[in-house]
Symmetry: C2
Subunit: 199 residues, 2 copies
């Protein structure tokens, strides 16, 4: 049963349909919108419309961007011989934040997951291979997620790339910095042992 | 420094400006919008626009509503001799949810708070008095919040109303149902003692 007027109810439902927004937060957000000025509301709506209108996929790396090619592909000062392969646009941002990697990216937009009916043809693997043929690439860093699907995707891609004589690497597994041995799960600890380095 | 394209950055900022939305949630919401269909996005925008356009204050009780008078004021089956005075529109909903009260409401849109420069003229007290003159009201329930400002507002209003011979009541204070004596603050416990009832 609804206790609000239809228009508020509709607005609350709209907010509730967003991820990680529960009923209480949706009500708070709806009333925030109602109490906002006309201009604030219009700016909010405009930012949504602009984002939907302006953003496109980079035709090279499939990152999302206002421009095509994206800022990273268009930046000639970046190392054009390295490609870091990630599952998602958000992973590009995560890696950019560490200011460590200066090469290019390739966004797969998913990972191979037979359980969900996602095969190699459903993600941007063909497009990656096309890029590798086109230009001389020296290293492909497979930065898919350290989960079953991400590992499978990395294995699949590395098998395709190795015959091309391109170096393929995978991000290291190990104990998180500042982490605690006691609370590290056995798989991570196992990987940390495997990958131990000499001092 | 920004790692996202300008349009995404703008959208994330828009979401971040909403109450109780932090950076991580804003990013999640922005990408949810980007991954939504054209139709879903348009529905979301429409719900905001409709709410801003359709909602108005009820000219009687100052509740927010698609209609004027609001559904509650327009409902003749409700007890027209009782008015429950609340600070906020959300309080109307909170009280409606208990299905206990069948009278009318009056939304003050705030409480007297000299610290914030809000005096009796800044909230809908005059309008309440006008309603009390207009029609025969038997009881005014002062359901302002049990905080300093709410208490002061209730005191102020009751002093104005009492000479009119209208019964004024205040919601009971006490231990919450299912609550724990041990964890009840001393003020509430004091009020619970004061208001104890005979079995």
């Amino acid at each position: 049963m609804s206790y609000f007027s239809p228009s508020i109810e509709k607005l609350i439902e709209s907010f509730e349909s967003l991820p990680s927004i529960g009923n209480k937060t949706a009500i708070r957000l709806a009333f925030h919108i109602l109490n906002s000025s006309e201009e604030e509301t219009n700016n909010f709506i405009k930012s949504i419309q602009d984002a939907k209108k302006n953003l496109k996929f980079c035709s090279k790396c499939y990152n999302i961007s206002d421009t095509d090619p994206c800022e990273i592909c268009a930046n000639s000062s970046r190392d054009q011989t390295k490609i870091c392969v990630v599952e998602d646009v958000k992973d590009v941002v995560a890696i950019e934040k560490i200011h460590e990697y200066k090469g290019l990216y390739h966004v797969l937009h998913g990972s191979i997951s037979p359980m969900d009916g996602i095969g190699p043809d459903d993600i941007k693997i063909k497009e990656l291979l096309a890029r590798l043929m086109e230009r001389e690439i020296k290293e492909v860093i497979l930065a898919t997620n350290p989960k079953v699907e991400g590992e499978a995707t990395a294995m699949y891609i590395s098998k395709l790339i190795k015959p091309m004589g391109i170096k393929t690497t995978r991000l290291a597994h190990g104990i998180p910095v500042g982490g605690d041995l006691e609370y590290t799960d056995e798989f991570t600890l196992g990987k940390a042992f495997e990958g131990r380095t000499e001092l």
